[in-house]
């Protein structure tokens, strides 16, 4: 309430109006005393003193009044208050008669600041029963209600297809580049090695092997069809066949890496080195036991 340099809201203006009136009063009193002008700091000091004097008198008079078990202050309370504050009461009538000039008009009566109707949105929550009605209302509901919003995911077929295709292409590109950077490469151009590296192709010792042997998927299908025949001999035949094709299956998946067929165990070890991650190993279907 010091009326400083803060930005004034309508509520502040309500208080500032009265303070400005006090300042005008102080200025008129100073003029009456004989001063032509005054320092701003001095006027502020006197205004502050006047305001606190009035407040203190009100508080003290009220205390004296309540001290005698009354609620309405009377003249005696005021007199006692004045005496307590060191005021010489006898000089008061003389002072009143001395100067009868300088009446200041009262400040305009302004109501409490009310938010304009245009700004209110929605119904305010009504008071619960334990709150008296003269208390201010609840604020607008939009100030405390929270509705989370979600963005609808894109479900357009064309956009999704595009996204999937571009993602797949990026993955392939990244993987092949990685293989080129870490493995052996052959260059497309004679002089320039780095621009178009091609992953070095290792020649198969037995080149037609991949054409002859069925792929992993076909092997599984064959297993399932064989299992329906219920034959012991076919079971034992399938086992070694399954073992040998176990090597070639993953080989086809890593098309650029060739393991020597001569040592199955070595290739299997290499296989384990390559695919250490259990999630990357080829799916092992459970062996179907046939009842004898």
């Amino acid at each position: 309430r010091a009326g400083g340099k803060q930005a004034s809201t309508p509520a502040d203006n309500y208080y500032l109006a009265r303070r400005r009136t006090l300042q005008v009063v102080v200025s008129s009193l100073l003029t009456e005393a004989g001063f032509e002008s005054a320092e701003k700091a001095a006027v502020e000091t006197l205004t502050e003193m006047l305001q606190s004097y009035i407040s203190e008198m009100g508080r003290s008079a009220k205390s004296y009044c309540e001290h005698t078990a009354r609620t309405q202050p009377t003249l005696s309370d005021i007199v006692v208050t004045l005496v307590e504050m060191g005021f010489n009461v006898e000089t008061l009538p003389a002072y009143a008669k001395r100067s009868q000039r300088m009446v200041i008009t009262a400040p305009p009566v302004t109501n409490q600041p009310v938010t304009p109707k245009a700004l209110t949105a929605g119904q305010n929550k009504p008071h619960p029963s334990h709150i008296p009605s003269h208390f201010p209302e609840f604020p607008d509901p939009h100030t405390y209600i929270k509705t989370p919003t979600y963005r609808e995911p894109v479900s357009d077929y064309q956009v999704l297809r595009e996204k999937a295709a571009s993602q797949r292409r990026d993955v392939e590109r990244a993987l092949t580049r990685f293989m080129a950077k870490t493995g052996e490469t052959q260059s497309l151009f004679k002089d320039d090695v780095s621009t178009f590296p091609l992953i070095a192709a290792r020649p198969f010792t037995v080149p037609y092997l991949t054409a002859l042997l069925p792929s992993e998927l076909e092997m599984q299908q064959m297993e399932e069809t064989d299992s329906s025949e219920q034959d012991d001999q076919t079971d034992t035949e399938n086992l070694p066949l399954h073992m040998s094709t176990d090597d070639s299956g993953p080989e086809k998946e890593n098309a650029s890496v060739l393991q020597q067929n001569t040592s199955l165990s070595g290739s299997r070890n290499g296989e384990e080195n390559m695919i250490d991650n259990p999630y990357l190993r080829p799916v092992k279907k459970p062996k179907i036991r046939r009842k004898k």
């Binding site: 006090l22 001063f35 003193m49 008198m57 009100g58 508080r59 002072y95 009262a106």
Partner: protein, 134 residues
């Protein structure tokens, strides 16, 4: 007959000397009651609304508008007393150097903090203001 000194029978302390009229009560409300009647047509400089506003903030509910005028008048007097004291200081500083009496000190008095501070000090109010503001 009232006892010369000490407490009376109902517990009220009476200072010695009251009986023989040496000590007069400082405050008697009788003249003020008359004064209150006069206040009805006298409007103090501070408007009733402003004084009433500050009194309400302090919890003082005035039943009689004259009470409010009395308070505003008292506050006015308080301030003008200080202003007069400051004026005395100002005049003392002016004529202390022995300026020409013909003009009887330039008629323009300006209230400055240098004059206000000693005037307030007599009332027991100490103000300290910085000479500069950073």
């Amino acid at each position: 007959a009232a006892p010369p000194e000490g407490t009376m029978s109902n517990g009220v302390y009476v200072p010695p000397g009251v009986a023989n009229g040496d000590v007069k009560p400082v405050v008697s409300t009788t003249p003020l009651v008359d004064f209150l009647m006069q206040l009805e047509d006298y409007t103090p400089t501070i408007p009733d609304a402003v004084t009433g506003y500050y009194l309400n903030r302090a919890g003082f509910e005035a039943s009689d508008p004259r009470i409010i005028r009395l308070i505003s008048l008292a506050a006015q007097k308080f301030i003008s007393d200080i202003a007069n004291d400051a004026l005395q200081h100002c005049k003392m500083k002016g004529t202390a150097s022995g300026s020409s009496r013909s003009k009887s000190k330039d008629k323009k008095y300006t209230l400055t903090m240098e004059d206000l501070t000693p005037a307030l000090a007599e009332y027991g109010i100490n103000v300290k203001k910085p000479h500069y503001f950073t």
